[in-house]
């Protein structure tokens, strides 16, 4: 176990280092730099040139990178080229909304998907199974921006029931702000997850050990909760960790449509304004999160079904 943890940690560190280089190279490949972004027909080229100098953007890329990397090792994510504030502040400011959004989504998705998956799995090919399958399949086939556009048109603009944007509202004052964004993010994730849970349930139900437990007189309810569920959850958990990335893509669309000042928006903004330290910082945080989530998923799976191999 300790060897495993060490291996995992070493791999993570290598991944993060390589990732930083990659992100730097990627952003360096973009045309223009942060100083150019300030060129909005109010600052003259001469002023822009002086700014570039002040921001240190006239230095060679390698030097900028090593400088940044050195700082990161001491825990300093640097300062934004655009706002001049610490990157950490930008990360902190943007992470909240996205976190709330994803947690709220997960809080709905996970129980819903598990429940649906188990219902479907225990009634394999029954009418209920087929109905739920069809509905979730259809839901997952609608791109999130299409869902969002129509939900907003219907529930906010036509009926006026729900707020269509986070602008001018506060989450504390009106939690209803969460409803539409979560509804948009829900569809695909629930479908993906519930299908995994369904497959896991069917597999577990057919497994020798469940059949045997039933033969030894374990009642049905207990069988489902204690014997089927943990095994059925494993593919679901793995899927959840895997969908993190796709979920983030959806989050961007949702953030854009509902004007949520979140992580994905900050990332794309950073790229658009060539704010390299911000992009670096956000990516780093994101990568750490992805690594932690994957590790967590592996550990959870290993907890649920100890035989799951840790290192593939």
């Amino acid at each position: 176990m300790r060897w495993y943890a060490a291996q995992r940690a070493a791999l993570a560190i290598i991944q993060l280092a390589v990732l930083s280089v990659l992100v730097f190279v990627l952003t360096a490949l973009l045309p223009g730099d942060a100083a150019d972004m300030r060129f909005t027909e109010t600052l003259t080229p001469d002023q822009v040139a002086r700014m570039r100098e002040q921001l240190g953007l006239d230095q060679p890329a390698l030097e900028r990178f090593t400088h940044w990397f050195g700082n990161v090792l001491t825990g300093d994510l640097g300062t934004s080229l655009i706002s001049g504030g610490p990157v950490l502040d930008i990360v902190k400011a943007s992470v909240g909304a996205t976190l709330v959004l994803t947690l709220a989504t997960l809080a709905v998705v996970v129980p819903l998907a598990v429940a649906l998956g188990i219902v479907m799995g225990t009634r394999e090919n029954g009418r209920l199974d087929r109905t739920i399958t069809s509905v979730t399949l259809a839901l997952s086939a609608i791109p999130d921006f299409v869902i969002a556009v129509f939900l907003v048109a219907l529930f906010s603009l036509k009926l006026g029931w729900l707020p269509a944007t986070w602008v001018g509202g506060s989450l504390l004052a009106s939690p209803a702000l969460l409803i539409l964004p979560v509804a948009v993010l829900l569809g695909r994730t629930v479908c993906l997850l519930s299908r995994q849970v369904r497959a896991g349930t069917i597999n577990a139900l057919n497994a020798e050990y469940v059949v045997q437990a039933r033969r030894l007189g374990v009642p049905r309810r207990r069988l489902l909760l204690r014997h089927v569920l943990p095994n059925a959850a494993v593919p679901g958990v793995q899927e959840l960790a895997r969908t993190g990335d796709t979920l983030l893509g959806g989050v961007l669309v949702v953030e854009a449509i509902f004007a949520i000042p979140g992580f994905a928006t900050a990332l794309v903004d950073g790229v658009e304004t060539r704010d390299v330290p911000v992009v670096q910082g956000l990516t780093l945080v994101l990568a750490v999160a992805a690594l932690v989530i994957n590790l967590g998923a592996d550990l959870v799976c290993n907890r649920l079904v100890p035989r799951t191999e840790l290192l593939r």
Binding site: G32, T40, E41, P45, I90, V152, T165, D269
Partner: protein, 489 residues
């Protein structure tokens, strides 16, 4: 909804109190609190609530007194005396000459290149500027300029307190006192009771940032009462309902195609004229601006001070254009138009214009560049591209874009004779003579220059039905976004 100002109703009795949430196009991390570093509308709106300038622009972009009660130039228009108004800062201090001098020096600080008014106020000879007394300040120019007051109304020229260092603790003379700010999201400010121009009606002002769709949704969903810079489509949708009013300032900005006059094929005046004759301005306005705009006449600033209104409207003339193109040998050749999604309507108008040009037998190919770097790229890249300019006095527009040394000379219009004529006009203290001279220069531009100004979109502000007192005014003018005059019914 109704066009024009919404405050005209005689029955409307101003009411005090309440909170107004105004949404502007956001700039994310680019948004700043330093009044001298602004460049976005949302920054300008925010700073306008807190700070003031010596001079402001009227609806026709003519300078009008603000913190300066009045001004007087000397005979050469090289030394200007400004008399200050009896205004109070949010910290209770009175406005003095020292504040003005400090503000101008702060703007000019060469170690902070992002202070935007640096280039426009470069003509100021700071060492020789001085305070005559508490309320009078004398500003000396390195070269005479009859338009100097207008420069003090440009963006980034706000007056701050003497010794102002920390932009996160704003103190101005404006109608609202700063409370809080989060870049890319919102600013909150409260009424300043000692405002010299009569305290605002609103108790609290929130200025929020959001893109066009979110602005529309916020306004319709009742999460905002005021939405700046709305699209014509939104106006069309909103007009069907009753909850939202549209306040439209006619023809406030300028949409144009710009040709580089020193690059083939536009180094040939015939080709420039042919392209001008090819533009179907009416259709461009109808489609790209959804009819919400005024047809342009290849000149900036229709309706502004110094605009030559007597020039005839240029119309589409396919035959003449064809003849000119044939003469230039451009028929069946391909020309690229360089555009980007940098501003609403750019790609759309380029695409539409391409179709119109294609009808004359010249293939205009649309190339899309990066939106973020477009302003810079346009200076060097492409031979013809999109251009949009906000409202500003016409002489300033010429200074910025049409002189040999202009920093944003996108048409590469570099004519020593034109430069000289403009310089001579600028020192004329007689306004009528100046106007005549500017008129001549603009006629030259219209016929020979590289600008195809096809339309002047209306500037659309949408407000919820209960908002009163919103004036229809072009952006960058005094009455645009004046929340001290607005009240909630």
């Amino acid at each position: 909804g109704s066009d024009g100002g919404s405050g005209g109703g005689a029955a409307a009795q101003p009411k005090a109190g309440g909170r107004l949430r105004a949404v502007y196009a956001g700039g994310g991390a680019k948004e700043v609190l330093d009044p001298h570093v602004q460049s976005l509308f949302v920054d300008i709106a925010r700073h306008k609530a807190i700070y003031e300038k010596l001079v402001e622009l009227g609806p026709d972009l003519k300078p009008m007194p603000r913190l300066a009660e009045k001004w007087e130039p000397d005979a050469q228009a090289a030394t200007w005396r400004f008399t200050l108004r009896d205004a109070t800062f949010h910290d209770g201090q009175k406005l003095t000459s020292e504040d003005v001098l400090y503000s101008l020096a702060r703007i000019a600080d060469p170690t902070v290149p992002e202070r935007v008014a640096q280039s426009s106020l470069a003509a100021l000879d700071l060492k020789r500027c001085k305070a005559i007394d508490q309320k009078t300040v004398e500003l000396v120019l390195t070269a005479p300029n009859a338009e100097f007051p207008a420069l003090l109304a440009g963006i980034g020229t706000q007056i701050v307190r003497d010794g102002f260092k920390d932009p996160t603790k704003p103190i101005g003379t404006g109608a609202f006192k700063y409370v809080s700010f989060e870049a890319g999201r919102s600013m909150v400010a409260n009424r300043f009771d000692d405002y010299w121009d009569g305290a605002a009606k609103l108790e609290e002002l929130q200025i929020l940032s959001a893109d066009a769709e979110a602005r529309a949704n916020a306004l319709q969903g009742g999460q905002a009462e005021y939405a700046n810079d709305m699209t014509a489509t939104f106006a069309r949708t909103a007009e069907a309902g009753k909850t939202v009013k549209i306040v439209a300032a006619k023809g406030s900005t300028t949409h144009a195609f710009v040709m580089k006059v020193d690059q083939a094929p536009f180094d040939n005046p015939d080709v420039r004229m042919a392209f001008k004759l090819l533009a179907d301005r009416r259709r461009l306005v109808d489609v790209v601006l959804a009819g919400r705009g005024v047809v342009g006449n290849d000149l900036f600033g229709k309706g502004f001070q110094y605009y030559p209104a007597d020039l005839s409207q240029r119309e589409r003339n396919l035959d003449e254009a064809k003849a000119l193109l044939k003469k230039a040998g451009l028929l069946n050749k391909e020309v690229e138009i360089f555009t980007a999604d940098a501003s609403a309507g750019f790609v759309e108008s380029a695409t539409l214009f391409a179709e119109q040009v294609n009808e004359a037998g010249v293939k205009l190919k649309v190339t899309t560049g990066s939106a973020q770097t477009y302003a810079k790229d346009l200076l060097t890249k492409g031979v013809i591209g999109n251009h949009r300019s906000g409202a500003m006095p016409i002489p300033q527009y010429i200074t910025d874009r049409l002189l040999t040394k202009s920093p944003f000379n996108v048409t590469h219009w570099r004519q020593p004779a034109f430069d000289a004529a403009f310089a001579s006009a600028q020192v004329m203290t007689d306004e009528a003579a100046r106007t005549a001279k500017y008129g001549e220069l603009q006629k030259t531009l219209r016929d020979q220059g590289g600008i195809i100004a096809w339309g002047h979109p209306d500037y659309l502000v949408a407000v919820s039905a209960k908002v009163q007192g919103v004036q229809a005014a072009p952006p960058n003018t005094l009455d645009q976004g004046r929340f001290d005059k607005v009240w909630l019914a």
